[in-house]
């Protein structure tokens, strides 16, 4: 196991920020830490970064304490913009690279490549404060990974990015993953989490509600999202056995079932009326799972 947390606990006086949190992340894997504000994500990150010492429990890197992992092997993107506003983009990246003990000469080449990749090459001499929020976020991301870290922590990396730039960022993260970097990130955007993460941990008030593969979480509830398009009536659909709720979205009906096995009898009933334009059965989206688990709805 490359990175693992075992019964990680952090207590601030009477406040329990992280409560017996355990998870495992393999090399070349992306791990998502998901939770509402104040769930304990940043505290967990800070413990992984050795900025805070756990009250109890441990974090290991290759079966040894994380403290043994060289700091230069870690990359970190904090939630807020951590950049010097009055520093030109290139100098900024040079500083952060040197801070991770990379030589200037190598960094120069890397910086050019990354700026090119993120379409920032023309802004290299520009003061960081004059960049747009999205561009600053891109600079921040380059700063966190320019030294090719073995462990990369991204706290809300997609905030402030438009879909095009978010795509660029995702590509960069995926290519790092392929190179074997362990990546942990937190995000409020569940679509990004679902797309990128192999494993996730759902946090609520410091406690882990779920830790494992996204598919395993989905299987806990089964395929209970049913989408139907056809000449039906909402009340008619709601009266079907096993249907929990029905909502109409444009010409589509979205049914929430009690159980996955309720779908087959519904199909058979509707098929008696003739042609069904659409009948698709899906797992709950991560967004819905998050709301159920973390916000406590539907539990």
């Amino acid at each position: 196991m490359t990175l693992s947390a075992e019964h990680l606990t952090k207590r601030f006086q009477n406040f329990l920020a992280v409560d017996h949190l355990s998870f495992k992340v393999e090399e070349g894997e992306i791990f998502g830490l998901i939770g509402q504000n104040g769930a304990g994500k940043t505290t967990t990150f800070r413990m992984i970064l050795s900025l805070l010492a756990p009250t109890s429990g441990k974090i290991n890197w290759r079966d040894h304490s994380i403290r043994g992992l060289e700091r230069d092997q870690i990359g970190y993107l904090p939630e807020e913009r951590g950049l010097y506003p009055k520093m030109p983009v290139e100098d900024q990246l040079m500083f952060f690279g040197q801070l991770r003990s990379w030589p200037k000469k190598v960094l120069k080449k890397e910086i050019s490549e990354w700026l090119e990749r993120f379409d920032l090459i023309e802004k290299r001499k520009v003061l960081t404060e004059t960049l747009s929020k999205g561009n600053q976020q891109k600079v921040q991301l380059i700063a966190s990974l320019i030294h090719k870290p073995r462990l990369l922590i991204l706290d809300e990396p997609f905030s402030g990015l438009d879909p095009v730039n978010a795509g660029l960022l995702k590509d960069a993260v995926v290519s790092l993953k392929k190179e074997g970097t362990v990546i942990i990130f937190s995000s409020h955007r569940m679509d990004h989490v679902e797309e990128l993460c192999d494993h996730i941990c759902l946090l609520k008030k410091g406690k882990s509600l779920f830790s494992g593969a996204i598919l395993d979480l989905k299987k806990q509830y089964g395929k209970i999202n049913l989408t139907i398009r056809g000449p039906y009536d909402k009340t008619e659909l709601a009266a079907l056995p096993g249907v929990q709720s029905v909502t109409k979205e444009k010409e589509m009906y979205r049914l929430r079932l009690h159980h996955e096995h309720d779908a087959r009898p519904i199909f058979q009933t509707l098929a008696k009326n003739g042609f069904i334009e659409r009948f698709s059965l899906d797992y709950l989206s991560l967004e819905e799972l998050f709301t159920r688990k973390v916000a406590g709805k539907g539990e």
Partner: protein
């Protein structure tokens, strides 16, 4: 060590290249240049000014008017016109003033000045000075002394040589040495005040900005908080020393260049009167004061959440600094008061006050040494204390008093 050098040089060069630093230094240099060129500058403005014309109506029958000597500013002209005629001339603006000299019943000189408008302070003081000198000469003249005898009385000076009878005690300094040291110490206190005031806010703003923007978290995740703290303290100190050297160097160069080196001679005379002990202590106190307050600034900067809060956080320290400075000023007139003695041992004010005591009083040097030891111990203590919570304080974003934040930071640092 490499990271310390990287952070140190980044802190130093960033601030050195900052426009605000360059502008402040240039303004200060311009200020120094103005000081040295003042006689020339003031002559530009005053060269067109006509001297004040004063008609002297001598009614003493003892030629008292001859004791009034004209200068650049005042031109005395003896008059034979009547007082009334002269008064008319004043009203018409032909003369600026009329000085009526007479004798009282005891034969003492009396002077009365008549003007159209009230006099300016400087003219008033100059006239009073002239009248006093004329009165002295007049009185001497009345005693029928020879010119030489009169000269002797006028230029007589006596120096009081002290001899201390207690064994082991040094003989007292001359009043000349003491006043030189007072003057230099005032300059030392002023420079400390000026430097500490600006660099205190520079370092606390720098650290608060790094904390506010979360750069701090990136930095301390790649190096230890102690390295960060020290790099910022020494980066700021290096900047202060750079500015100090530029200003002092600039001032010395200007002293040499302007007014045909008149000021240079004054400076060298001044410096030659200072003892080695004084100079060493003054430099040590200056350096340590900068170090102490920079450290305090760093700690305060790490405790606030936003750059805007820095001003409020450093306010008490600024007050402390002001107290020290004003006590140092009070020492200009009397450096032997109990207040000065007490505050010369308080580490936060010692740097501004102790140099004055060393130079301007006859205290033993061990006292200065004790004060210096206090100061060094305070710096070490503060450094060790700040290490205990610096890591925590840069991660604390809660509100509350500084004490509450320190407690929280210590808790986080564990």
């Amino acid at each position: 060590m490499n990271k310390f050098i990287l952070l140190f040089s980044q802190s130093y060069t960033n601030k050195l290249k900052a426009k605000s630093f360059l502008i402040t230094t240039l303004i200060m240099l311009a200020g120094i240049a103005c000081f040295f060129m003042w006689p020339t500058i003031s002559s530009w403005f005053s060269s067109d000014d006509k001297p004040m014309t004063v008609a002297v109506s001598d009614q003493t029958n003892a030629q008292a008017a001859t004791y009034f000597h004209s200068s650049k500013q005042i031109k005395f002209t003896p008059t034979t016109r009547s007082v009334h005629q002269e008064e008319q001339r004043i009203v018409k603006g032909k003369t600026d003033a009329l000085l009526v000299l007479s004798l009282d019943q005891k034969g003492a000189l009396q002077a009365e000045l008549k003007t159209k408008n009230p006099l300016q302070l400087t003219d008033q003081q100059m006239l009073e000075e002239q009248t006093r000198a004329a009165n002295q000469l007049f009185t001497i003249q009345q005693l029928n002394l020879s010119a030489e005898q009169a000269q002797k009385i006028m230029n007589q000076k006596i120096e009081l040589h002290q001899k201390v009878l207690t064994k082991n005690a040094e003989n007292g300094k001359t009043s000349g040495q003491k006043s030189t040291a007072t003057l230099v110490s005032y300059a030392v206190a002023f420079i400390i005040y000026l430097f500490v005031l600006s660099y205190l806010s520079i370092i606390s703003s720098e650290i608060a900005a790094e904390k506010d923007s979360r750069i701090m978290e990136i930095i301390i995740s790649s190096t230890s908080p102690v390295t960060h703290l020290l790099s910022r303290v020494f980066g700021t100190l290096a900047l202060a020393m750079t500015q100090f050297i530029v200003l002092i160097g600039g001032a010395l160069l200007m002293a040499r260049a302007f007014q045909d080196g008149k000021y240079w001679d004054m400076v060298s005379t001044l410096l030659s009167e200072l003892t080695l002990g004084y100079t060493v202590f003054a430099i040590l106190f200056f350096f340590l004061a900068c170090l102490l307050y920079t450290l305090v600034g760093a700690v305060l900067g790490s405790l606030v959440n936003k750059v805007q809060d820095v001003g409020q956080a450093v306010m008490p320290v600024t007050m402390l600094l002001m107290v020290g400075f004003f006590i140092a000023i009070s020492g200009m007139s009397n450096p032997d008061t109990m207040l000065i003695k007490i505050f010369s041992y308080v580490p936060f004010t010692a740097s501004m006050i102790m140099p004055m005591r060393i130079g301007a009083t006859d205290m033993a040097l061990w006292q200065a040494f004790v004060s210096l030891v206090f100061l060094v111990l305070t710096i070490i203590g503060l450094f060790l204390f700040s290490l205990r919570f610096y890591r925590g304080s840069v991660l604390t974003y809660s509100n509350g008093s500084i004490i509450k934040k320190i407690k929280q930071a210590i808790l986080l640092s564990k």
